[in-house]
């Protein structure tokens, strides 16, 4: 075998065997797509009491000023808190957060659509739908088209249902 592997035919055999093995390995990977998708998820730190409290405050001029003055990192953090339990907070939180800093929040939501799990992307779609912002609606439509392109019919349908009332 050693002698054979050193001949030109042996070298070609070695390459052919390696390529065959690589093709088998690659094909096997494709069948494990759900396993890989399991790890596509955004990790959010658990909310603190203060963060929860600020999301439970009713809308007021003071609250709007407070939100606007918050550093970017904390605004996106509030979005993450909302994402963990969207139904625990007031319904207009998405609207207030996006109004406080549209570009930052929309970029953060885009990140969820890129790197989030299926459930997280659904919640991000709800966040955008509830915001009432035009740029957010445009983003939602883009994400619906993207979901269609990706063959994620369930997510595309979910987003479409969210879009109907608006």
């Amino acid at each position: 075998m050693k002698t054979f592997l050193k001949t030109p035919r042996g070298i070609l055999f070695l390459f052919a065997a390696t390529f065959f093995g690589a093709a088998v390995l690659a094909s096997t990977t494709v069948f494990f797509r759900p396993f890989f998708e399991k790890y596509v998820v955004e990790k959010h730190a658990p909310p603190t009491a203060n963060e929860e409290k600020s999301l439970k405050q009713p809308d007021s001029p003071e609250n709007q000023t407070y939100l606007k003055k918050l550093p970017t990192q904390q605004k996106t953090r509030l979005y993450e808190v909302w994402m963990q339990q969207p139904d625990s907070f007031l319904a207009d939180i998405p609207q207030r957060l996006i109004r406080s800093s549209p570009d930052t929040l929309l970029l953060r939501v885009t990140q969820t659509f890129v790197a989030g799990s299926f459930g997280q992307r659904q919640r991000a779609a709800v966040f955008l739908a509830r915001s009432g912002d035009i740029a957010a609606q445009n983003l939602l439509e883009r994400e619906r088209q993207r979901a269609t392109m990706r063959g994620e019919a369930e997510l595309a349908m979910f987003i479409k249902q969210l879009q109907i009332p608006h």
Partner: protein
Amino acid sequence: MTKFHLLLRSLLLMDLRGQHYARATGAKPSELIPPLYWVVGQYLFITAVLSLALFTRIDVLPYAFVMLTVSALLSVSAVVVEFNEVALNFTDVQVIGHVPVPRRTYAMARFANLLAYLMLFNVALIIFPAIIGAGQRGAGWEYALAYSFAAGCANLFFPMLAILLYTLRPPEPDKTDLRDLVAWVQIILALVVFYGAQMMFRDGQHRIEMFLTQPPDWVRWLPTWWLAEWVAGVTQHTSGNWLTIALAIGLVTVLTGWLTLYRLATFYRAIRNGYENVRSEREPLPATWALTLSNWLAKTPAGRSSIRLTLTMLQRDSDLRMRMTPQLATVAAMLLLGLFTAQLGNPFQAGDGGSPASMSIVVIALLVMSVPTMMHNFLYSRDFEASWLLASAPGGRGGDWRHGHGVRRVLLWLVVLPVLLLLGLVFAWRWGDPLAAAAHVWFGWMQCVAVSYFALPAVGLRVPFSEPLARGGLGGRIAPFLAAVSLAATFMGFLEFFMAKKMLTAVLFAGLLLCLLVLAKYMISAEPSTVKNLKRLHS
């Protein structure tokens, strides 16, 4: 059989029998697994890691773009690094110069030979991205076909373009700078892919996925992006004129191939017309700066002569430079990883306000660890038989290590110091604290100098360039010493991490390093029993 078939057959047979693809991998021709296999294996490994890392994380278009770009870069680097032995062979004229073979036929045979290699690399580069990419959401079997076609054309087009550009220059057989540069690109790319994949899993802000999903405008001007758009269009049935574009892609590739063939024929005509006879065979004398540097770095004639020899070998021997590449590339890759993951913090900063300083310390530790390996490289040469001249030269002062010291100084002053200065600049820019950067780099310098003293007996560097490269020679026999250096460098890194935050402990750490340096220098000059033990370790 025509002359073309005979030539092609003999070229392929020669290539398969005598493997010379050592430049990119550092593999030796005597090994059972041929060096070419490691090159192909390296491509399979890189594309497999990248495909798996990106699988399900990004869409079809960015996925195709990344894989097309990486495979094009790798195929260009493969050809540029190795084409002296595949497409543009200056020594051919000595073998077939007297045989009545038309230049065009010869060029065609060489071109076909090159195509055989490109096809081999193509298969290695396409398998994983095509099959795994087809498993992406929104892709399918159309993706596998479209990607294979686009990547096949790109992996032929770009290497041929590189050869085309190279043949536009006058033939210069000793020109290796470009190959060195591309080999660097290849190794750094492998490390960046490896570490970058880890970064993607660790980065909570998903910067790589975001970058690829929303690329900046300049990315849309890259040819591989156009190809990726075509692949995505075919896959998702959004491209109406996909067949016309496919024909255009194929036509451009064929035209480039035809032009390359034409230039190769011109190239072989040029070297046939006596270029080899005109070229001076005399090695250039050492430059004035090299003489001045050797006078400055060494006090003894033996030291000066070994410094000049080392400088000449560094300039002449591309294998020597390539053997040093992986060590320094690791440092570069770790630095890039630290920058991208924001872990290149200031170790002198107290508290947890700044970014973690782990990578800043690891980068220096890696450089310290690379010193003995690089010194060990100076022991080997293809022209090792000529070392008798140095070995039999009159002794003079300096003891057993008089020549080794010369090599050590060249390595420290011409390789390690510039790297440290560059690192210092990056740290100073990143931390906004030049003083801390200078101190960090100074700690690294002291460790490198100390390790270089210990490494002399451990690697047995009495007469540089005096041994032939043998299987396992580069890494095997100094492995215990390297393990010891790795442990020591890691320990010093930990010490710096904990001691650098306060002024008093930082000064203590500097004092400790100074003691280490003095001890190393004393050991090497006094040759106590420890050195004998290190020698025994070496033997």
